[in-house]
């Protein structure tokens, strides 16, 4: 035994000596990626932090003037910007809870022996594989009050989905629910299939009702992965730009990313938009942190 051990060590160290050392391989594998991400993610952010304290406009050649915290002060006191945040919050809540209900519901139904289960799951993945921009464009046709198919099949007559300021945000959320419920369904299915069968058998022996089984066994065990789905979907919904931008141009659907886009690339208030970008950034980080803390709590239980 001892002799083989020695030869093993000896051989592997010789092998390592012939090639690059582990240390240099590690650095060679990791450092380029870190550098790349710093150059293309962190550096731009530092760059825009600088601009956020100026009145710079990218459409003119005028030099940027330092204005201190003025951009931030004005933005935080601007009721329109707060309104954009309120719209975003409403949108996130409606679409994420819709996806959670539909996705988890379908997963509960699918979590049994069903003919063609694999095919059904794959087909249900299709909506989330598509481009939001192109899908949004086409849903515009589906929603059309005079020749859209949705109104025809639901018997809604000339119901205005996108032209009605009150309805438009829900119409956008509905499309988002269509696209992303499958994602929640998929994660839920993974979680449901991981629940040990013997727990259900024990519950059946104890003559536990379906509600008891659901709330005491299924839900707690699936909660962590549902939480992951909620985190992912919340982040994505908060970032939504293309879907809402293409579907409608109602003031009531002006999500914060749309406001940011308009401020930066239509009104060319570059400095100001950099400041707003920073406010959004801080919010995203705060929300993520709260979520991650909550996720850890759910996992501990």
């Amino acid at each position: 035994m001892a002799t083989t051990m020695i030869t093993t060590l000896d051989r592997s160290s010789r092998a390592a000596a012939r090639g690059l050392s582990d240390m240099s391989i590690r650095n060679f594998f990791i450092i380029p990626t870190i550098l790349f991400l710093i150059v293309f993610n962190i550096f731009p952010l530092i760059y825009s932090l600088g601009y956020s304290f100026t009145d710079f406009r990218a459409s003119t050649n005028a030099p940027a003037n330092f204005v201190g915290l003025q951009n931030y002060r004005e933005l935080l006191n601007d009721p329109f910007v707060w309104n954009n945040f309120a719209i975003t919050a409403k949108y996130v809540i409606v679409s994420v809870s819709g996806q959670l209900l539909v996705g988890f519901g379908v997963a509960m139904l699918l979590n049994r022996e069903i003919p063609l289960k694999g095919l059904i799951t794959t087909l249900l993945l299709l909506p989330m594989m598509l481009s939001m921009a192109v899908v949004g464009l086409f849903w515009k046709l589906l929603y059309d009050p005079s020749w859209g198919v949705i109104n025809y099949f639901l018997g809604l007559g000339n119901f205005e989905w996108l032209a009605d300021p009150k309805m438009a945000l829900y119409a956008v959320a509905l499309t988002d629910i269509w696209m992303w419920s499958p994602f929640v369904m998929l994660l839920s299915l993974a979680g449901l299939s991981a629940v040990p069968k013997h727990l259900y058998e024990a519950a059946a022996i104890d003559r536990a009702g379906p509600f008891y089984t659901f709330f005491r066994i299924t839900l707690p065990l699936v909660a962590p992965i549902l939480m992951i789905a909620v985190i992912f979907r919340t982040m994505e919904a908060f970032k939504t730009f293309d879907l809402a931008y293409i579907l409608t141009s109602q003031p009531t659907t002006e999500l914060i990313s749309i406001r940011l886009y308009k401020m930066a690339f239509q009104e060319w208030q570059t400095g100001r938009s950099c400041a707003l970008a920073y406010i959004v950034l801080i919010m995203v980080l705060a929300i993520t942190n709260i979520y991650v803390k909550y996720l850890n709590k759910v996992k501990e239980r």
Binding site: F36, L37, F40, Y47, V149, I256, T270
Partner: protein
């Protein structure tokens, strides 16, 4: 569940199956509608009640690829007879194909934008998955100081709304002349996908037993040889799943493409909506463009469905 199935359980199972099938149909209906509209004659695209049964046509695709103008006067019978079938299809729609002075057919912007999408999505996928695989291996096998923090940093680059990053990137790109270039978008999409690729690949790398490479090292392989000959083939499934996800993201991206490109390097996602314009849009042409654009992703999804299901669960189904 219980060993003996009661009749109510069987009924419930049947109801569940019916509901699942219904939901699947509802979810697929919009996709079916896009696909069927792409093969409709123009006058049937927006009829109420909707046209379900129709003679499929290829004319929307001909129109998608060519530049057309309104016919002032109908073509003479000789002209019509001399024209190839695809030109007749356009004549039948009351339009003619625009030709330049030499009589060459003028293409629409679509084929070009589609090619741009292909070039940019494929290149950035290869780069992101390649770098991601190396980095994931590094994190999986070697001790790295502050590993958790570094991994969180990598993930955090993905949390930002694209518009937030787009503003400084736009200014930087303008300064170095990368605006409206293929390279510019490739770099952006690579950066965007890299974090995802590292995280996904790390999950797969962690699953490959370390003993495999150790055995190879004992046999006299160098680390690099062991990585390329032993680890990479083992990680093939993971690489495939990651590649599909990265490709789909890059293929579908809209915000950066809208902001960073205008003609030369524009991809299809901002291009197709821009074709709607004011006036009455020809939905069959838009549907044809949308359908063709969905095709690569749909085929990918279907071919790699089993890897996808594994990749998407982020290790949740692992024992």
């Amino acid at each position: 569940m219980a060993a003996v199935r009661t009749s109510s359980e069987i009924t419930f199972n049947r109801i569940a199956i019916v509901v699942v099938l219904l939901v699947t149909l509802i979810f697929l209906a919009p996709i079916y509608w896009i696909a069927s509209t792409a093969f409709k004659p123009r006058n049937l695209a927006t009829t109420i009640p909707p046209t379900i049964v129709f003679q499929p046509e290829i004319s929307p695709f001909v129109k998608l690829f060519t530049k057309r103008s309104q016919l002032r006067s109908p073509p003479t019978p000789e002209e019509y007879a001399a024209a190839p079938w695809w030109e007749r299809v356009v004549f039948d729609g009351g339009e003619k194909i625009v030709r330049d002075g030499k009589g060459e057919v003028q293409w629409s912007g679509y084929p070009n934008r589609f090619m741009n999408s292909l070039i940019i999505a494929i290149t950035s996928t290869v780069l992101a998955v390649g770098m991601g695989t190396f980095t994931a291996y590094g994190f999986s096998r070697f001790k790295v100081k502050g590993e958790a923090d570094l991994l969180f940093f990598i993930l955090s680059t993905r949390m930002l709304p694209p518009v937030v990053v787009a503003i400084p990137m736009f200014l930087m790109y303008r300064a170095v002349g990368l605006n409206d270039s293929h390279v510019g978008l490739i770099i952006l999409y690579t950066a965007f996908n890299l974090s995802f690729s590292v995280w996904l690949m790390k999950g797969f790398m962690d699953e490959i037993p370390k003993e495999y490479e150790e055995a190879a090292l004992v046999d006299g392989y160098t680390r690099m040889e062991a990585f390329f000959k032993i680890v990479l083939p083992e990680a093939a499934t993971g690489i495939a799943a990651t590649a599909v996800f990265c490709f789909i993201t890059a293929w579908n991206e809209y915000a950066f493409a809208l902001i960073m490109t205008n003609r030369r390097a524009q991809t299809a996602p901002p291009f197709i909506p821009s074709q709607v314009g004011s006036g009455l849009p020809d939905w069959t042409v838009i549907a044809a463009g949308t359908f063709l654009f969905l095709l690569p992703v749909a085929i990918f999804t279907f071919l790699l469905r089993n890897h996808l299901l594994r990749g998407m669960s982020f290790g949740a189904i692992r024992k």
